[in-house]
């Protein structure tokens, strides 16, 4: 029995193992930038960088006591987004400079809610979520009221802080509202 067999590893075995180790190290080194690249959508929005103050228009465009559809261009967009970065929202001018700006997305599963001024209700076409004019849940499956954008009035113009699709998680940055009267 030779020395090599006793130690259990030949020179070639050792070289093959080192070769595997080298490839493993290369994979790890390659994986780091790839993972960073894949996580870019998270990193890019870190610390609220997906949200910006956006001009919705003159105050006069929103008559008191009414709720109107407003549109804005998403602050983070690319030239190849087409129409998808034109985002709608419902603006309710309660009185004077008191507003409520609701996301179009139903709090249930994100479908576009429609405003019915006659009955002062928002209705969702997907699963029948209904909200009162102040955005609180009236009936149906939504777990909460409509998502609301923070707003401010500057120089006679209505500004909202927006930029990301509101969901139950991504709304945390948007002002949370109480469930309101659940009827």
């Amino acid at each position: 029995m030779s020395d090599q067999e006793k130690s259990g590893m030949s020179r070639r075995d050792l070289m093959a193992k080192i070769g595997m180790l080298l490839n493993g190290a290369a994979v790890v080194i390659l994986a780091t930038p790839v993972i960073g690249y894949l996580l870019a959508p998270i990193v890019r929005g870190d610390g609220g960088r997906y949200r910006k103050w956006i001009d919705l228009g003159e105050l006069d465009e929103f008559p008191e006591g009414q709720t109107r559809l407003a549109k804005y261009k998403n602050p983070i967009s690319n030239p190849w987004d087409g129409e998808t970065d034109n985002i709608p929202c419902w603006v309710r001018r309660v009185e004077g400079e008191k507003f409520q700006v609701f996301a179009i997305n139903c709090a249930h599963l994100g479908c576009p809610v429609r405003w019915f001024p006659q009955s002062s209700l928002f209705m969702c076409p997907c699963h029948g979520g209904v909200y009162y004019q102040d955005g609180s849940r009236a009936s149906g499956p939504p777990p909460r009221g409509l998502f609301e954008y923070p707003y401010k009035v500057e120089g006679g113009r209505l500004m909202i802080e927006a930029g990301q699709l509101p969901t139950l998680s991504t709304s945390a940055s948007l002002r949370a509202r109480s469930n309101g009267c659940q009827g």
Partner: protein
């Protein structure tokens, strides 16, 4: 030796594949397994190949850009010779693929084919099903129209329900803060590269295992699967009573596959391609988004789950279902194969099928959704207005004008969200109606703030008239002077 044979020999000398192919063709299958029940796997493979082929054809024209995808689909439909047909074949092919994969899975489950030694074949099959559904969803996204846009919104809303890391998951899914160019690009990559690549690899493995382990024997009641003896018994069976795969079994596979391809083409030719529906412009809010048929059961389920059940059902439900399917061969890997002696399996499959079928049927007419234009589109039936007082007719106008009709039907038209009101006066007294209108409840919004007293009085007096001619309206027994209302 003919020239053709010589050429064949030249290639085989270099490829060394001839003997493997000959072995595969001649490998014995149990005589009874050369059956029409065993054609669904090969049909799924055929449709998959059809999907790859038509997918490549569509990719010649399709532009995976949020700004241009919809236009390129219009161009495919109307500007490219037979582009509509290829879109139709690809779209209908996806329907057939989901259906055939499901039928294949039911057949395998009913025939106990997931039992020893074919456990891993089944587990890979479960993942093939998930990938098929993944292809169906991502394909629906690539048809970048309103349904695709809001379907993505629903996907994002579901991801947003993940605790703690929901926001990250949403941004990963969308590739950014909103549904936009980056979203379509990544779904294109997933639909065209990632899942097909995995599918090709896993389908090959799945197929190789069927060849190596042999096709499942026809289940006989009382012939039990035992780990110790099964493999030997199977080989004895195929040796004694086997038939060569080619041509005894394969001709049925080939007939059925050809039949399916003809069916897909016929559907494409008769019904045409799917959409695209309206442009993916989120500012067009007059839309009623709906998923394609293979996800409509989920769409229906999400309308019926109580709100507090929804997040657990969405996040834990899939884990439980996939976990159950993956573990099935481990806790039922031996014993009876015949469906005649596996009542629980049969009942489980039947109940699942009935549940999925019922939910899909309900999604066809979405009784949980308000009908957005019923208030302005459906007239009040004439017999509900004839001979009524002015106040009652005014009430009918309030009923329409305040969109009650969107959720409540009268005279057979209107929404189905709330109960129909044709005989509401029989069920509720005047006072109960007033209370219900003002305070809502039972999943109805309260209208107290939206109706003035005059409107309430008119509306309820109209509702009071809604009872069958031969049935008295409900009255409050506690009222002493309880003369029946008209």
């Amino acid at each position: 030796m003919s020239r053709l044979a010589k050429i064949g020999e030249w290639f085989d000398q270099r490829l060394q594949l001839g003997s493997t192919i000959r072995e595969t063709m001649a490998h014995p299958v149990p005589r009874k397994s050369a059956s029409w029940f065993y054609v669904f796997g090969s049909a799924a493979l055929t449709v998959f190949i059809l999907q790859i082929f038509t997918g490549i054809m569509l990719a010649l024209i399709y532009v995976p850009s949020a700004g241009e995808a919809w236009n390129s689909l219009q161009y495919l439909n109307h500007g490219v010779t037979l582009g509509w047909f290829l879109r139709g074949v690809h779209g209908w092919g996806s329907n057939f693929m989901v259906a055939i994969v499901l039928i294949h899975m039911v057949q395998v489950a009913m025939f106990g084919a997931y039992k020893f030694p074919r456990e891993l074949t089944w587990i890979i099959g479960v993942f093939l099903l998930l990938m098929t559904l993944g292809m169906a969803f991502t394909g629906q996204v690539l048809r970048f129209d309103q349904d695709a846009y809001w379907g993505l919104g629903i996907g994002a809303a579901i991801c947003g329900r993940v605790p703690f890391v929901g926001a990250w998951v949403v941004h990963l899914l969308l590739g950014g803060p909103i549904i936009a160019g980056d979203t379509l690009s990544r779904f294109f990559a997933i639909h065209v590269f990632v899942i097909p690549g995995l599918l090709i690899g896993l389908v090959s493995l799945h197929l190789l295992m069927v060849l190596k382990l042999g096709i499942n024997d026809w289940p006989m009641p009382g012939r039990l699967v035992r780990r110790a003896t099964y493999v030997q018994e199977y080989h004895e069976m195929t040796k004694k009573d086997g038939v060569p795969f080619v041509p005894e079994a394969v001709w049925k596979d080939m007939f059925f596959s050809a039949f399916i391809i003809v069916c897909v083409m016929a559907c494409a030719a008769f019904f045409g391609p799917y959409g695209p529906s309206g442009q993916p412009d989120p500012t067009i809010v007059q839309t009623v988004p709906k998923p394609d048929y293979f996800f409509q059961w989920l769409y229906a389920l999400l309308a019926y789950l109580p709100p507090e059940m929804e997040t657990p059902a969405l996040l834990i439900g899939p884990v439980v279902i996939i976990g159950f399917l993956v573990c099935l061969p481990f806790f039922a890997g031996e014993g009876e194969k015949s469906w005649k002696r596996r009542p629980i399996a049969v009942v489980t499959i039947l109940l699942t099928a009935v549940a999925l079928g019922t939910l899909t049927h309900l999604a066809g007419y979405t009784p949980w959704s308000p009908i957005m234009n019923a208030w302005s589109g459906d007239p009040v039936p004439v017999q509900y207005l004839n001979g009524r007082s002015p106040l009652e007719r005014q009430g009918a106008a309030v009923f329409q004008g305040k969109q009650c009709r969107n959720c409540h039907s009268i005279g057979g038209s209107g929404g189905l969200r709330g109960p129909d009101l044709d005989s509401v006066a029989v069920r509720m007294t005047h006072d109960q109606l007033v209370r219900q209108v003002l305070q809502g409840g039972g999943n109805m919004p309260a209208y107290g703030k939206n109706l003035n007293p005059a409107e309430v009085a008119a509306l309820v007096s109209f509702l009071d008239t809604l009872h069958p001619a031969n049935q008295l309206p409900a009255r409050d027994a506690a009222q002493e002077d309880a003369s029946p209302r008209q």
